[in-house]
Amino acid sequence: MELVTKDRNTIDPLEAIETHNNTATLAINPLESEAIYIFREVVAQFEKPVLLFSGGKDSITLVRLAQKAFYPSKIPFPLLHIDTGHNFPETIAFRDKLVKELGVELIVRYVQDSIDQGKVIEEKGKYASRNSLQTTTLLDALEEFKFDAAIGGARRDEEKARAKERIFSVRDDFGQWDEKNQRPELFDHLNGKISLGQNVRVFPISNWTELDVWSYIAKEKIEIPSIYFAHTRKTFVRDGMIWSADDAVYREEDEVVEERLVRFRTVGDMSCTAAVLSDAVTLEKVVEEIRASTISERGARIDDKRSEAAMEKRKQQGYF
């Protein structure tokens, strides 16, 4: 699906500067400016940062912001993808293309390996998901590479527990979040000092809303995986939500598969990410749809519906 224009990644930097030689005043986008500031603080304050890349729109936005923060240098840290094995194939193809264009290092660690090593046990049955299993694989990867800062695309508007998250969020040796004992964050004075064994989760787009992300993607003409746009897909309906009829998604015999015109609002593990009916085939239409929407983005995430404090519990255990 050719929906977006040529990506800026492929433009020769020198050519770009000459053709964009403006004589104007730089217009400020306060959220973008804040995110770039945070990226630079991470690289300056930590020895080995890494960007957690899921292939979703938020992490793709992070990549563009990182490009902006360090230009004309390349992005000075690798991307880490925790692969649940239940990815949308479109996302993986997109990921590999992006990494190649940017010339950055991609590290992939597999939840399947954690299962095979007996570190986690796969959930079974109707609502089985590998989403919470990711935490173990993530913590192991952070330890393996001695990453001291993991940059993520979580936003405070997503969920109530995330609304209390800091920009620099300190985690202990076990990756745990001590929500009642968080460091105060004042002005732009970001404190990244940590003790041995601790690491930090960093959230540069904390203050963005879902609509902010989409508006930015549209304005910047950032390429995103095709599953974010309306497409015909084999699906079935359970508990009022639309699920992709793939092998990775458990399906009862009486759950009927039908082709529907759908798109995804978040790109997580296939087994816990529901689709929405949509005919939005362009970024402009997607932005319009989000603006008019009355259901929150995580309303389509079954993992949050397990209990009212589902996210808080996962975060205490090291989920990002």
Partner: protein, 415 residues
């Protein structure tokens, strides 16, 4: 779109979270699934009304106790603005969270319970907003429904509050009083029929009328260098850019600049933002600049305009708000961090604890406890470029980092 950052402050049960929930509800910012969750929970708790505080109290402990413990960030938008609300706890032991919320906000809503009027905590809330020089203060006199929407009670509270303003140090704040009922919605988004004696704006209308600016306000240009960008690629072999955020005022190509603390001078050659060059960049922009001359500049240095030099020195006096359970004691070492600059520092002395009810200070105190504000004298191991907080909020403020636990132990406002 403009982004307006607001903080809220109030005592326990003043209805702060309810007020925010009400704004979200009345501006149709609550999505169906969130609203359904609130309805279900309100019903389960046996309420015959919607408990909007459920929209913001995010942690399990908070929902159990029905209070706000930590700063929660809430987002909503109107046709003209995006709003970011830092909802902060009212309990005295969470004063540090209130300071945190106010530090990144341009406006503050202080809640007063109409039945209780101006109480000790109101003094403290206003004191902090005054200390931090938050520009716009909205005093929401809440629970008007419980005092029969009485004009005389509203006027009494307003008079008490004004008495407090008269005692404050910073008098240039814009202070607005609004009678509201967060629970029933009076004067929050819709004009109330119960307050015919009130001719002012509703809370949301008032917020809509504020000009969204960054919290750092107009001042002298300050450019703290975050990092040096040296790509060492063929195209940019000799490129040496200084990455940072511009505070206070515009920066233009050709500006004569001084680098601190070295006092070397040069001129701005280029201003980059990603792959584009600009002649001028406004305050608030994160850009990368190059200079005409090859200077030795590193992270922590500050670039300023020649005619607008700040103070440079190894000693400063500041008002410090203490945020750690471990007391601030003279002789102790901390890291002082202002923007991108982190310097080993030593507390020379504490010369008094300031009463947060505007009744002066206790000059006999020589240490600072959690949630106290005091006058502190600090010695640094290297010279720091700084302004007074009244002149410049970014170069006039700093945090103190505990050298052992690495926690942010306090925040300082340079005198």
């Amino acid at each position: 779109m403009e982004v307006l950052k607001i903080a809220t402050a109030g005592s326990v049960d003043d209805g702060k979270s309810t007020l925010i929930g009400r704004i979200l509800y009345d501006t149709q910012s609550l999505t169906t699934d969130k609203l359904e969750a609130i309805e279900a929970k309100s019903k389960a708790n046996g309420f015959d009304y919607l408990d909007f505080s459920l929209a913001t109290d995010g942690l399990v402990a908070e929902r159990e106790q029905g209070i706000t413990i930590d700063v929660a960030h809430i987002y909503f938008s109107s046709k003209t603005k995006s709003y970011i609300v830092a909802d902060t706890p009212g309990h005295i032991e969470y004063t540090r969270n209130m300071v945190t919320g106010a530090s990144t906000s341009q406006a503050s809503i202080i809640l007063v319970d109409a039945r209780k009027g101006v109480i000790e905590q109101t003094y403290r809330h206003f004191f902090i907003n005054n200390l931090l020089r938050v520009k716009d203060i909205i005093v929401a006199i809440n629970k008007m429904d419980l005092v029969d929407f009485s004009e005389s009670i509203y006027e009494e509270i307003k008079a008490d509050f004004q008495e407090m303003i008269a005692k404050s140090e910073y008098k240039e704040q814009n202070i607005t009083f609004i009678p509201v009922s967060a629970l029933l919605g009076d004067n929050v988004v819709a004009t109330s029929e119960n307050t015919p004696w009130y001719s002012g704006n509703t809370l949301l209308d008032h917020l809509e009328g504020l000009e969204a600016q960054d919290v750092y306000e107009q001042s002298h240009m300050r450019f703290p260098v975050q990092m040096v960008i040296r790509p060492k690629q063929t195209h940019f072999h000799d490129f040496r850019g200084y990455a940072g955020k511009i505070y206070g005022d515009d920066l233009e190509v050709g500006d004569e600049i001084t680098v601190l603390p070295s006092l070397t001078t040069s001129r701005v050659k280029e201003i980059y933002f990603f792959d584009q060059k600009f002649d001028k960049a406004g305050r608030g922009s994160s850009c990368t600049i190059t200079l005409e001359d090859d200077l030795n500049i590193s992270r922590g240095d500050m670039i300023v305009k020649n005619a607008e030099r700040p103070n440079v020195g190894k000693q400063l006096e500041a008002k410090v708000c203490w945020m750690d359970t471990k007391e601030l004691q003279p002789g102790t070492q901390y890291f002082l961090q202002s923007g991108s600059n982190r310097i080993l520092a030593k507390i020379k002395g504490v010369s008094g604890v300031i009463h947060t009810d505007f009744s002066g200070e206790d000059i006999t105190a020589n240490s600072l406890k959690l949630n106290e504000v005091g006058n502190v004298n600090i010695l640094m191991s290297r010279p720091l470029a700084y302004d007074s907080y009244t002149e410049n909020k970014i170069s006039g403020s700093f945090i103190l980092i505990d050298a052992h636990t690495n926690t942010t132990a306090g925040v300082g406002f340079v005198k």
